[in-house]
Amino acid sequence: MSNLIEGATGQWEVVIGLEVHAQVTSQAKLFSGAATAFGAEANSQVSLVDAGMPGMLPVINEVAIEQAVRSGLGLNAKINTYSVFDRKNYFYADLPQGYQISQYLQPIVGEGVVTVNLEDGSSRDIGVERLHLEQDAGKSIHDRHPTKTYIDLNRSGVALMEIVSKPDMRSAEEAGAYVRKVRAILRYLGTCDGNMEEGSMRADVNVSVRHPGDDLGTRAEIKNVNSIRFMQQAIHYETTRQIDILEDGGTIAQETRLFDAQTGTTRPMRSKEEAHDYRYFPDPDLLPLEFSDEFVEAIRATLPELPDDKKQRYMADLGLSEHDAQVLLAERDIALFFEAVATGRDAKVAANWVQGDFFALLGRAELDVADSPISGDQLGGLIDLITDGTISGKIAKDVLEMMFESGQDAGVIVEEKGLKQVSDTGALEGEIDKVIAANGDKVAEFQGGKVKVLGWFVGQIMQATKGKANPQMVNQLVREKLKP
């Protein structure tokens, strides 16, 4: 698929690189014992370290280190057993120390690769440049006072993993697929909850355009985009803006821009107008971060099965189509649900039920899989009832709705509502005899060679039994009785 854009001066290619900031899943902050939970009262989750008080010192959280290594392994990346924390110096209202502790020349994780899956079924490898640990800043609130900005430091010092991609993406779709894939991997690993609305994942988007084959163009960096849709809108807007400027004979300014969700446009960020000189140097309050290969291997041993491996297994071992595999593993919670349904059962049947009726019910209730009122085991139980002939597939759909409403097991509902299939030959024969007796003309048609009429008879009997009759059995009995 070509991503090239037709312009007045020829074809253009957009080049995208992403810096994803992912909040490390941890109880406490990177360098202090204050909590990381979202939504607390202003400045209530702030230690004196996070507030940059005089004489306060950082001490590193071991879980942040483990999570970074874990994430690096999940991104197929090189783990650096020696890394260095640096200070990135700049003044900002919500940066209490006047510097951010980050990693500059020697990050904890080096190069890796993420395979993204595109709409048309193809996949592409996107390079990861590095992953480093750093502190988050606090929050500036601009709309509470006419002349003042309010500062809440609850986020100050929260551990972030900054995952920097190579400039390998060539369309908004690829960028979206990349973020989705990175988010899925981190969620599988349990290292970031990926919740973009709460700010636990956000992206700085570097966009430039060029004629194919040219050197990289000057890029604009769009800061802190907090949804995949916004990111894609921003890329589209930026692509057009840059092509327009260049085709008008202008030049692109290397600048930091902000995305405005109201208008779908980007604009230069006033507070970042001046050129930066961050004066990075090793943080003298911290020593280099070192760990052993054994530490890395111990983490590797606990890695869960990740999306790419799952895909292989779903296709090769479970016989799913690539599409079904892709849908079912895109989110860790869905995959876990599906696997609970499929265990010990026909995987394709399980896949159909999950993607069909179950997703429809979730969608109607606007729920995520994690909040589903029934478990995968329960849905599996429903499928078992179909398999052993207790209920028909058609009744099962109704049963699933009832399960969704009540959270009850399928067996309980079938029992209580009397939905078991009638497979008792005596009871069925009575019904069949009645229908045959009342429809002599149809009997004649059948016996005259119109085999299709058989289906009409079966339908009548199913109707009479309110769907509870075992259709195979009805079919067989009717056929026998109609024999001349």
């Binding site: 008080m53 005089p54 004489g55 110096n89 003044f91 120390q97 006047g98 004066r279 003298p284």
Partner: protein, 497 residues
């Protein structure tokens, strides 16, 4: 009972233990002496009421213990350099920018001192953010050295940056004082005031709650009247602190027990690079005197070379300002201290920091910003870090053959206020003998060893390998005994009071 301000910590400890004096009386005597010493401007904040309470509590603990175990500094009144954060008590770092700052926390070191039973007399004056060698950069004004040239009533500097702490101990109004040493800020003022000042090994004393100047160099230590007092006080200050990532887990030995008086067989290095052009003859003579004393005591003197000594000061004046430029970024008018409004955030920062920082701090922040800035990092900062390794290696090589090193503490005696304040580089040269140990992280101590021909105290410095303060103290004790330094400044500041 004799004047309680004339006894040392060790002696007071024994008298307190025997019940011959109380902490309340001891503290009252020192609080009164502190109040009477206002002409020295050694204190930023005096806390006589708190001192009284703490002393009474100490006496109560002692009677509770009923002859049993009490803290190592039980009942001993101390002064605290105003760089240590003290809970609820004004902490200024000698700067206008910390205007009104009362921390809601207590530094690890002061916390340990109070746990050891010590009593706080108040907070001592210092060079602003500990940047200076004469205590003239303090926002609270210069500290006057208790010592004067005989027959001359000009005020002299006490050295810096721990000038207030050194003056308080020399002037006999604190039994001991906390101090900090980034490039000589304990040892040089100790030398200028006839007191004992020790900078322990980097990592010995927690930096948590101490206002940072240059994090990779800053180290707290005690200033006292005697080597024994110093060992006692360091014992109470030192120790691992999980809140400081650079704090060491080395065991803290009994420093006082190291004072055996026996240096026989120890090899003492004398570095040839410490002989400076134009160094006053009396400094050279004092050094020779020290060499003689140690020889007489049975030590072996070894000529050594520390080839990169000359480059320690310039390397220091890159590394320390670089770290300081970053450490002082938090003084921005937002969360504490001074704030000078402006039309926008940037102007508020610039106004606040222009008004809040004095000339020397501004100078160093600008130098530090420059040497870290794009295009200059490699030429300055990285270069200095490489030289730092060479200087450290010089010491390691030397300690392959010697147990300790003997040098002068400072290249001159105390000078007059204003004498060097116009020339930053000549001021920086004050620390020529002390800075190398900061770069290497090694311990050093200044011991009063004699008087200049003008009657001002001069000090000798003993340097030792990392975490070998015991050898350092042992040698310092022998020097102290040999020197028999008993001179005291006349208490001119009390006249007329």
């Amino acid at each position: 009972m004799a004047d309680l301000t004339e006894i040392g910590i060790a002696e007071a400890r024994d008298l307190l233990a025997k019940g011959e004096i109380s902490s309340v009386d001891l503290t009252a005597a020192h609080s009164a002496a502190t109040a009477a010493a206002q002409p020295l401007n050694a204190m930023v904040t005096e806390t006589p009421e708190l001192a009284k309470e703490m002393a009474a509590a100490s006496d109560a603990r002692r009677s509770q213990a009923d002859g049993g175990e009490v803290g190592a500094l039980e009942g001993i009144p101390l002064a605290i350099k105003d760089l240590f954060c003290t809970n609820g008590i004004l902490t200024t770092a000698g700067s206008h920018i910390l205007d009104g700052f009362k921390p809601a926390y207590e530094s690890t070191i002061t916390d340990k001192l109070w746990n050891a039973g010590a009593v706080m007399l108040g907070k001592t004056n210092l060079d602003e953010f500990a940047m200076g060698s004469s205590n003239e950069t303090s926002y609270h004004g210069p500290v006057n050295n208790p010592w004067r040239v005989k027959g001359d009533d000009r005020n002299l500097v006490p050295g810096g940056s721990s000038g207030g702490s050194a003056a308080a101990v020399a002037g006999r109004f604190a039994m001991g004082a906390t101090a900090t040493d980034t490039g000589g800020s304990i040892r040089q003022p100790a030398a200028f005031t006839g007191t004992v000042g020790c900078k322990p090994t980097y990592g010995r004393c927690s930096r948590w709650g101490v206002v940072a100047f240059a994090s990779s160099l800053d180290q707290a230590g005690p200033i006292t009247r005697s080597v024994r007092d110093n060992a006692i006080m360091l014992g109470a200050m030192a120790g691992y602190d999980p809140k400081d990532s650079t704090s060491s887990q080395h065991d803290v030995p009994d420093f006082e027990a190291a004072l055996t008086g026996d240096v026989r067989g120890l090899k003492i290095g004398v570095p040839k690079e410490y002989v400076l052009d134009g160094m006053p003859g009396e400094i050279e003579a004092l050094w020779q005197q020290g060499i003689g004393w140690l020889k007489d005591a049975g030590a072996e003197i070894v000529d050594i070379s520390l080839p990169h000594t000359k480059y320690a000061l310039p390397a220091y004046y890159i590394i320390a300002p670089a770290e300081a430029s970053s450490n002082l970024a938090r003084y921005d008018g937002v969360r504490f201290g001074l704030r000078v409004e402006g039309k926008d955030l940037t102007e508020m920062y610039e106004n606040t920091r222009a008004a809040g920082f004095g000339a020397e701090v501004r100078r160093r922040v600008l130098i530090g910003t420059y040497v870290l800035s794009a295009g200059y990092y490699d030429a300055y900062y990285l270069k200095a870090q490489k030289v730092r390794r060479l200087i450290t290696q010089d010491f390691r090589d030397a300690y392959e053959t010697v147990d300790a090193i003997l040098t002068p503490s400072a290249p001159s005696a105390a000078f007059a206020i204003g004498e060097k304040s116009d020339d930053p580089i000549s001021m920086y040269l004050n620390d020529v003998f002390t800075v190398p140990a900061n770069l290497a992280g090694h311990p050093g101590i200044s011991v009063p060893a004699g008087l200049s021909k003008e009657g001002l105290p001069l000090g000798l410095q003993v340097l030792a390998p990392a975490f070998d303060e015991e050898t350092m103290y042992r040698i310092a004790g022998v020097l102290e005994a040999a020197a028999g330094f008993t001179a005291e400044p006349e208490k001119w500041w009390r006249s007329g009071s």
